[in-house]
Subunit: 364 residues, 2 copies
Amino acid sequence: MASNTLFLLPGDGIGTEIMAEVEKLIAHLNGTGATDFSYESGLVGGCAYDAHGVAISEADMEKALAADAVIFGAVGGPKWDDVPYDVRPEAGLLRLRKDLGLFANLRPAICYSALADASSLKKELVEGLDILIVRELTGGVYFGEPKEITDLGNGQKRAIDTQVYESYEIDRIARVAFDLAMTRGKKVHSADKKNVMKSGVLWDEVVKQAGKDYPQIDLHHILADNAAMQLVRNPKQFDVMVTDNLFGDILSDAAAMLTGSLGMLPSASLGAPDPATGKRKALYEPVHGSAPDIAGQGIANPIAMFASFAMALRYSFGMVDLATKLETAISDVLEDGLRTGDIMQTGCRKVTTGEMGDAIIAKL
Amino acid sequence: MASNTLFLLPGDGIGTEIMAEVEKLIAHLNGTGATDFSYESGLVGGCAYDAHGVAISEADMEKALAADAVIFGAVGGPKWDDVPYDVRPEAGLLRLRKDLGLFANLRPAICYSALADASSLKKELVEGLDILIVRELTGGVYFGEPKEITDLGNGQKRAIDTQVYESYEIDRIARVAFDLAMTRGKKVHSADKKNVMKSGVLWDEVVKQAGKDYPQIDLHHILADNAAMQLVRNPKQFDVMVTDNLFGDILSDAAAMLTGSLGMLPSASLGAPDPATGKRKALYEPVHGSAPDIAGQGIANPIAMFASFAMALRYSFGMVDLATKLETAISDVLEDGLRTGDIMQTGCRKVTTGEMGDAIIAKL
Ligand SMILES: CC(C)[C@H](C(=O)O)[C@@H](O)C(=O)O
Ligand SMILES: CC(C)[C@H](C(=O)O)[C@@H](O)C(=O)O
């Protein structure tokens, strides 16, 4: 088996603690011969700023570019609230997405049945929920130029951000959504604000055009504001939702919270397949943040990180069975009643980050 | 008493049916001598397009500019899905907002206690909910230039929308939010994406600066994606939320849906006070849309329209007691068990649009 390379970027806050569990997991998988991963670790976010004065160093960017997959923890914390805009922790993540060309962000919002009670929504509305939000990740208002603040004098300033999309960017993300929907419920909702935004008009036009190549897909248009409503009203009406960078940011967070499993949700950010090798650049990260309030206490929930690793196994290494095995192991420990503090329920057993990691690995 | 002028714009779909109830209400109020409203009606949206080829005629724009308050129904429907972008139904509403200078959009998300069960959220999370979303309405990506689609050849197009904010636009909406919060829970959350958008950086800077004039206000910053999450997780943590045009569009819809009272929620869009008269231009509209699927059947819920009229009484005419009386009448008919189809519950009595309007008027 060829060696597969990973680049681990734990980042800040609980990022380091949950990444330590990933290292245990890799050691276990390599030990059993199931995988042959080699890896290095680097710095991103606040810790990179502390060490190098930037949110990610050039050396670490090169390692990220060279690796088969980047495993990312979380960035940010109050310590870096006032660092200059260009070197704020998030800049490291945004640069990784952009320079690795990770245009396709897959954010599953699933409800672990053991946790259906934890949702703020009524149980019957979320039990069995399985939505996949496909978010465009390298375009839109995140990266468009001009993006600047101008001093107008008289104490007045003008701030500008620019939402830009070209047809090809919309086409490729739509096709990712359609391809994934073909392996699921074959239903896609495309969300935009075409009643107000020209980028929405183009978005809708290109998505519908691409949809013609997928006659089996049941394609719906939905306005982004209505999508936010419908997610709250009846999330199970959705299968796959495809949307732009900014709407994807907001709608996927709302969807994640609905499941009651926020601390448990993974994400994958994928580039285009290399024409020669067929390989995609990829980064895997939990949806939750760096949780500075509980960092360093050994109580963070490593499940979203493990589930992100499962996505890496599936999407970067084609190890679909192993990915499913890992996901089943996660469900099993939940069914066994193990809980970290964030998801603690009466009648369950409260465990540390390390105990949760060990329990999942033991199930494998 | 000086005559107060209203301009009624029923619009499309159920807009005409719910506006007919407003006419009954005005006749009643004028009849009792409580008010002295004179009004005219005009066309906006699809019906204006059918009549004049535009989403609102110049003549009607002039009447809207001259009136003390515009009472707006709803616009749009499948019939006009393919009309040219510049004359689509929404363009009428957007022009009204812009030309009347209605920068402050007040969107209360309250949960009528009789309807707490209707929310998709657990009852204890929404019972008694009373959030006020203050949305900037004449700036941001809705109106910034360039806003265009360019043909690049080779079947490729590029779409651009521009998010622009100047300090004064942020300052004045922040002060509206602070002033309103002073009459309520004195807590304001300001939502932006300052970790990604320069307009967010400026937004936060200006809001914090304005906040210094309101030392009693408990001011919080929240990222817009986290705001979407927190609204779903625990909406009662919020009192007033101030945000930009686009985030306000999405977050207020999510908040409205949470209450289980979506068909019941009003909104007010206010301009700056005239330096000479102290009067503000204003438009009042329900949060729900034109509901073409049920239009013409006499079953639409007029409550959001009535609640919008109550906001007009309060904000445009200083008739605070009468506004409260109307709002109480709405709650009372709900407590009595009257329901239009959209909010029907077992054990309640299903009524038509007209019956609901009559019942509320009878309570006055
Ligand atoms: C950290 C931040 C820049 C990022 C985003 O806005 O994309 C985050 O919210 C996310 O969704 O991954
Ligand atoms: C109809 C549409 C243009 C409008 C908006 O996007 O502002 C609507 O969604 C609203 O929230 O009032």
